[in-house]
């Protein structure tokens, strides 16, 4: 994967390599990327984290935790507070056809609106289209989440064979806050008399391609379908091609 991306693995990550077929843990990925030693948090994100953790991290990775945190607001505040100015948050969360995986499936507008409201930069989402069966053994398709087209209500539907996840990232700056509560941006737009972000698509998993069928009428914006050009395809079987 590193080779195909043109990334040079850091020597820290090459020490004591694990067996070739074994799945590697986050700590080794971080070491291979030259980001130093990973720390893992298992404090209760429902409660305020200790003040000594404030502004400590350059990267926080939520690879499937936030959906189990009942106090969503406190969990988000903790995450934002633990980042340094310039640091980035990465969430990977279930979006659709993941019922009861966590208390609530995240819609992309949740992350978008919180990070915009709190003045973060480089707010960016990538949708992950996953097969329901043998999810980890088959290729996933990914496309960029464009909030202008897809930020409206009920914008993405999937078949019973398709699951959706979202990768979402944002960068804190010196002026970023963590405690501001967003209003859903769709409603802000509507109250302000702006267009209602009308895009609606059915997204169906297929191994070889991304299948996004527009069902909104009229087309939300000229050329919007081009957004669904897969930007990435990740195969999770033994070859681990990317």
């Amino acid at each position: 994967m590193f080779e195909s991306l043109g990334l040079r693995p850091h020597t820290d990550g090459l020490a004591d390599p694990p067996p070739g077929k074994a799945e590697i843990d986050f700590a080794r990925v971080i070491a291979l990327l030259g980001l130093g030693a990973l720390q893992t948090l298992d404090a209760d994100l429902n409660l305020p984290v200790p003040p000594e953790l404030a502004a400590r991290f350059g990267l926080i990775v939520d690879g499937g935790t936030m959906e189990y945190v009942f106090d969503i607001r406190q969990g988000m505040m903790n995450t934002a507070a633990m980042l340094r100015a310039g640091g980035r948050i990465v969430h990977v969360s279930p979006v659709n056809n993941h019922v009861n995986r966590g208390f609530a499936q995240r819609s992309p507008t949740f992350y978008h609106d919180y990070y915009v409201e709190n003045g973060f930069d480089d707010v960016r989402g990538i949708m992950m289209v996953q097969p329901r069966s043998n999810t980890l053994g088959r290729r996933w398709n990914m496309f960029q989440y464009d909030h202008v087209t897809l930020g409206g209500v009920n914008s993405m539907f999937c078949s019973e064979e398709t699951q959706l996840g979202v990768y979402f990232t944002a960068r804190k700056n010196a002026a970023s806050t963590s405690d501001r509560i967003p209003v859903q941006s769709y409603f802000t737009r509507v109250y302000d008399g702006m267009d209602a972000l009308p895009g609606q698509y059915v997204i169906t998993y297929e191994p070889a391609q991304l299948n996004a069928r527009q069902i909104s009428d009229p087309e939300p914006r000229s050329g919007a379908v081009a957004l669904f050009t897969p930007i990435w395809s990740l195969r999770g079987d033994a070859g681990r091609d990317s």
């Binding site: 009942f70 969503i72 406190q74 056809n97 993941h98 499936q105 897809l150």
Partner: protein, 275 residues
């Protein structure tokens, strides 16, 4: 159906002004099908037959008295103005026999506070009713609520009579055609990724729970089902097809037929069928 199973009592609070997707005549027919005698309070000044009726009239027809509405702004004429992201004023504590959240909680960023406010405003013996988007409602609210959120919160806080119903709706013409109501059985359906639907179906969850004198509101639950049972179901809208279909590799047992509850056609006839 739920009023027949366990009658609701007032005073009633609704989050936001809400309307039924059924007119006055259709509502009377539905009450007749269910064997509920409409209360005369609800029959004063009847609206035009084809106009959707609002919650205020529905609850008058059920004999539950005058509805109050809570909203974040005065825009739609709510009696109580409050932001559910913040603690509600103390004078609203233990005031209501029924609180209906017909599509609000998914827009509340601080869900913990929203749930606590709801529990606090109920009288002991009072019931909370949530009807929330559950699946194929991406970006409808900040989140789609899974049944386990309501199940685990109300169980952790000692509520009684926890009950969920999955509502399977057609994506196209959602207000006009066939909805199916399928009982949410936490024992068989609590697992992760337990319920799926096709691109033609959207799912909402109805969830209700009753407060008692010992209930709390501030306990934060851990998810009871983490890891889960491995059971997986596809639930569909429409009269013609199986309403619930098991797709997991192992057989979850003989409980499945009990899930099938009722089919409602909101089409021209506005019919309600018992299954």
């Amino acid at each position: 159906m739920e009023h027949l199973r366990a009658p609701f009592a007032g005073p009633v609070l609704s989050y936001g002004k809400q309307a039924m997707n059924v007119g006055y005549d259709g509502t009377l027919k539905m009450l007749a099908t269910l064997g509920i005698v409409p209360h005369p309070d609800g029959m004063v000044d009847p609206p035009p037959p084809d106009e959707y009726i609002d919650f205020a009239r529905l609850f008058r027809l059920l004999g539950l008295g005058e509805l109050q509405t809570l909203d974040v702004s005065a825009y739609e004429g709510a009696e109580i103005i409050a932001d559910l992201n913040l603690p509600v004023p103390l004078e609203l504590t233990s005031r209501f026999g029924l609180i209906v959240d017909g599509g609000t909680m998914e827009h509340v960023f601080d869900i913990r506070q929203g749930m606590k406010n709801t529990a606090d405003m109920l009288l002991p013996g009072g019931r909370a009713v949530h009807i929330s988007p559950m699946n194929n409602y991406v970006n409808h609210g900040f989140v789609q609520l899974s049944p386990s959120l309501y199940q685990d919160y109300y169980a952790a806080n000692g509520f009684d009579d926890l009950r969920g119903i999955v509502i399977a709706q057609p994506r196209a013409e959602i207000l006009s055609t066939d909805w199916n109501f399928v009982e949410y059985d936490h024992t068989t359906m609590c697992g992760e990724n337990s319920i799926f639907c096709s691109e033609e179906t959207q799912m909402a969850i109805y969830f209700s729970a009753r407060k008692n004198a010992a209930s709390t509101s501030d306990r934060v639950p851990a998810q009871s089902s983490r890891g889960g049972t491995g059971n997986q179901f596809v639930i569909s809208h429409g009269a013609g097809q199986p309403k619930i279909q098991q797709i997991s590799e192992h057989d979850p047992g003989p409980t499945v037929p009990a899930h099938e509850l009722v089919h409602v056609g909101f089409g021209s006839g506005r019919e309600l069928h018992r299954l």
